[in-house]
Symmetry: C2
Subunit: 634 residues, 2 copies
């Protein structure tokens, strides 16, 4: 149902969108067949599932950690999505096992957290700033909603509700309640999901409480640390690290830990949608602008420093020290998706595409079995994917995103069907309940710019089909409706096709697609004199594997032509479009000097090849870079 409020659009849920796209079919298959089983095995092997049996005791190995519940809950949620798209009895059995473990770990008062129950019961709610208790609760709620939607079973959802009810009894501004909130936002957006699933208004109110209380003086985080000598905490995380420096509506700049921040912005947008609170939406728009204008990498990565996994200052986007946590790009997609439903503005869809195809997708190896936590844009050769992490938030977060990929493609109003991503798929639309129909999108994306739409409606129906003209395309080359060329009508970045559509109608659209050299804003001084290569939705990179020497020594002559070809990066693997040409190389000084006269450098020509960034570190290990120095015209 379309919300009758300030959010114009509703995304078409992923259960109504059947993806059929050569590129993405493979990503989803790998996620289903390799990543989810790998994550399950790692949760098992590390004791994360066993922790939920509440049998750990001091002296035993595999002591639970306070964020483990979030890892298992996110695996469960991601597995539910995968199973919804492609039923799988084996996966389903694992899903039900883990859901039962969660239900079984709940205490009689509703509390549910394996770590605090068995390792540190006396510190329940004692350190909201760092202990992730409410964060874990949020992921349990999201898993419970996904499980309910997949299975129809009420048991886990009811356990989640009992936990939420208990939390609601503990936190708030009333007598005897703790006026606190979590140091790692997540429960706020999860409570909105729980509200949407159950209709229980208290969950929405509790989410609003957590958002509204954040940053109010005196700060909860100062209250809960009373009694601890202040001089022991001088380098403690400042409130801005947790976005609690001022109330959320007064926040103008994206600051602090990137994932915390963006999860909070998601909840702010959710609350704006559900409650009509325009002040939250305005804050989100201000924050978006701050991020977009100076704090996001070309890959859609965010978080410029590993110190706090955090945003820094405008235009401070170092490439090697980039944190760009996979979770942060995933969260950025979540946030952009919420903002997109308000205005339908292309910039949000551009960002979804940028983060999805680059900074998020790079978080998983081509075979789905290894993962990046950080996604730098420059590596000296020592950064590689891992089987798992002690803090293993990223793998399952990317699996959650892949499992729900369908819901990022289309939005609708009563009068309009809006296409955001050109991924092959068939969507069942309802135009807000006006009429059912399907739209099939197919084409040669992501390598080509041709896309075709087949419309199926039970009877002729007037509505607008609005197709995003991506930022990288800039224009529409051609449009044909039922084979007849049309002048393209582009408004606000979308090609508008308004008519009475009938069964079997077709639309063909051609976008220009060619490799582009991209430069940065002059204030992004670390990229001065360098270009990135982009083609369609993909940002490209160069890897040592493809060079006779180190990519750290390579430049690209100003006018050098780049040719395109398809190449498999792994034996028998799918092929991707690579860019080839002639580069220039200059060796580093033999004495290793940091600085030397430019005259001491000698250059020679070298074969040059660039591959899509997301696919790096799938061959021999070595250095990688996205931004490439550009030398004089060739």
């Amino acid at each position: 149902m379309i919300m009758a409020n300030m959010f114009r659009f509703s995304s078409i849920p992923f259960r109504q969108v059947q993806i059929d796209d050569p590129f993405w079919n493979e990503r989803l298959r790998v996620n289903h067949e390799h990543s989810l089983p790998k994550q399950y095995d790692m949760c098992e092997r590390t004791g994360r599932f066993d922790a939920l049996k509440l049998q750990w005791k001091p002296g035993l190995p595999k002591r639970p950690h306070f964020f483990w519940d979030s890892d298992t809950a996110k695996w469960l949620e991601a597995a539910c999505y995968a199973c919804a798209v492609r039923p799988d009895p084996e996966l389903r059995a694992r899903i039900d096992r883990v859901a039962a473990l969660f239900v079984g770990a709940q205490l009689t008062d509703g509390y549910l957290n394996a770590y605090f129950t068995v390792c540190d019961p006396e510190r329940r709610w004692k350190n909201l700033k760092f202990n992730h208790e409410l964060y874990c609760a949020g992921h349990i709620f999201e898993a419970a909603v996904a499980h309910h939607q997949l299975t129809g079973s009420e048991e886990f959802l009811q356990a989640a509700c009992r936990f939420a009810d208990y939390i609601d009894s503990v936190f708030g501004l009333g007598d005897g309640k703790l006026p606190g909130y979590c140091g790692h936002q997540e429960i706020e957006l999860a409570l909105v999901r729980l509200y949407r699933e159950t209709g229980e208004r208290r969950y929405l109110d509790l989410s609003a409480y957590f958002i509204n209380q954040r940053g109010q003086r005196p700060l909860w985080f100062d209250i809960e640390t009373q009694g601890i000598p202040r001089d022991f905490l001088p380098l403690d995380a400042p409130p801005s690290y947790l976005q609690a420096h001022v109330p959320v509506r007064e926040q103008k700049e994206v600051v602090g830990h990137a994932v915390r921040a963006v999860y909070m912005y998601c909840a702010m947008a959710d609350l704006a949608r559900e409650t009509g609170d325009d002040s939250l939406l305005q804050a989100c728009e201000t924050l978006w602008h701050d991020m977009e204008s100076g704090k996001v990498y070309i890959t859609g990565g965010i978080g410029s420093t590993w110190q706090g996994e955090a945003f820094t200052t405008p235009y401070d986007l170092p490439n090697e020290r980039a944190y760009c946590e996979t979770c942060a790009s995933v969260a950025l997609v979540f946030w952009a998706q919420r903002m997109l439903q308000h205005s339908g503005e292309r910039k949000y869809a551009d960002m979804i595409e940028r983060a999805l195809y680059n900074g998020a997708l790079s978080g998983m190896s081509l075979d789905g079995r290894k993962f990046f936590y950080q996604n730098p844009l420059l590596s000296f050769g020592h950064h590689h994917r891992s089987d798992w992490f002690d803090c293993s938030c990223c793998p399952s977060n990317l699996s959650r995103l892949l499992g729900t990929l369908g819901e990022y493609l289309f939005s609708e109003t009563a009068r309009e069907l809006r296409v955001h991503l050109h991924i092959g798929a068939t969507a069942r639309f309802t135009l807000g309940g006006r009429a059912e129909g399907t739209l099939r999108q197919q084409g040669d994306a992501p390598w080509g710019g041709n896309v075709r739409y087949d419309i199926s409606v039970p009877s002729p129906l007037e509505f607008v089909i609005a197709v995003r003209v991506p930022d990288w395309a800039g224009a529409v080359k051609a449009v044909r409706v039922n084979g007849t060329p049309q002048p393209p009508e582009v408004r606000d970045g979308y090609l508008h096709l308004s008519r009475v559509w009938g069964e079997g109608d077709t639309v063909e659209v051609e976008f220009p697609m060619e490799a582009q050299r991209v430069i940065s804003h002059p204030k992004l001084a670390g990229n001065a004199g360098q270009v990135a290569l982009q083609r369609g939705p993909f940002v490209y990179c160069i890897e040592d594997h493809d060079f006779a020497g180190s990519v750290l020594e390579v430049s690209l002559p100003g006018g050098a032509r780049l040719s395109e070809s398809r190449e498999a990066l792994q034996p028998g693997g799918e092929s991707f479009l690579v860019l080839e040409g002639r580069g220039v190389t200059a060796a580093p000084p033999e004495d290793g000097a940091l600085y030397r006269p430019a005259s001491a450098s000698s250059q020679k020509e070298i074969a040059f090849k660039a591959i899509p960034y997301f696919a790096w570190d799938n061959r021999s290990p070595g250095a990688m870079r996205v931004w490439i120095p550009e030398t004089g015209v060739a």
Copy 2:
């Protein structure tokens, strides 16, 4: 006296070196006449001197801070040096007043710290990690030594010794002693100075204890935080921040807070010199190599991030976010000076020159009244010098360095007089007591490469004069002894002139000096495609003040010629050599986009001017950069 140990050289003390150099005379005059009075006034105005009267009470303004004693002590020390070089009754009166304040603030047990005495007496020695108590003590010791050397008065020195005796009774590995050490190193090198001044071996032993105990398990910083819930300290500074992660001899990489680190390395070198402990010297050499090969800016700045004012990883040298604390470059000069006396290797003198003329000297405005704490290599226009800082360690630290400038010029052994810096000066040498004589150095440095030496000896004497061939010169153009050309004999970066020198002998040396384009090691990827301009000891920068537009948009064509001229940067001020030519400018996108196709950029020619980096931010405020993108050959 030359030490009969592994350190070959002794620097000639600043009291034996009379500087007479157009460039440096002005710097020293400004320091004496403007900076020291300004710092005194700021200490007075902020209550730093009054704090030593121990009369502050809760409710009164100007509550002392626990590092204030270090600010006043460093002012006192710097003022003693200035007064030694140029007697000044007014300054001397202030010196004696402040020394008396320190003496008067000492408690009967020897303790001396205004903050803990009046604000927090029950927390004496309770938080060595962050409370700077021993750090302040170290600066008091250094001030007391300087005061003793200037005045001959014993009173302050004896107070310092009582404090040191008391500290010696509190700290150590004996029964009932605290096996701790300071979170901010400084007392270690100060105790060596106190030992040298008094001959009291216990001070040397106490310094060695502090150095040797650092990093031993269990860590003192873990012991002193016992009883505080660990989950409240997860983002607390790690031991590496304070260089306590492993024992000092096992430290292979420069890590953590830069000033803490380098003060510690100074003490390690001092202890190596005094005790013959080669393992400490070897550790210093390893640490030096790590710093020199990837963790120092072209300006001699160190500390790549303001988060912890710290070293980061090799080749992570971002220009805008550079911390490059003035104190850190000053400390680097201190450390390099100690290392230089061991081997006489040119690389240490090159670093002294690099840090002195650039990253340190930039810490003071041309008029001496404003100061930089951070010295970035890129500014978007918002970084400017201040009158003072809440934590005001830098101004007086630079004044300490300027006050002792003379001692960085010459070293000697029994057989050799080594010239490190080509600053006009007359040095009284003794060749380890063999004979007295003077060497007068004069020339057109720092703008020209000509230098002349006049030797005065009571009777003919055989020794070597070794003159540094700076890294930026690379070679010697000409040498003349008593007017007769000689083939230059350069060994290990020093021009060796060995003969029996007589009264009135002269040497003339010419070094090539021209503006150079300097490039970075390929791994310093943030500088890829960019050049820095250097001429002689000076790194240059470009400032908005000199451009019709923003320097952030300027590039320098590959082969563009640069002309040289002298220009006063302030009305009536001294003139500096500036570089001029033609650059290229490209405006940023009107929509502020972070990324855009390179084809969307249009360039035009622009007048280009570069000034010495140290002199930036003395005219109209605006952006500044050291590294400049280089475009195709002009």
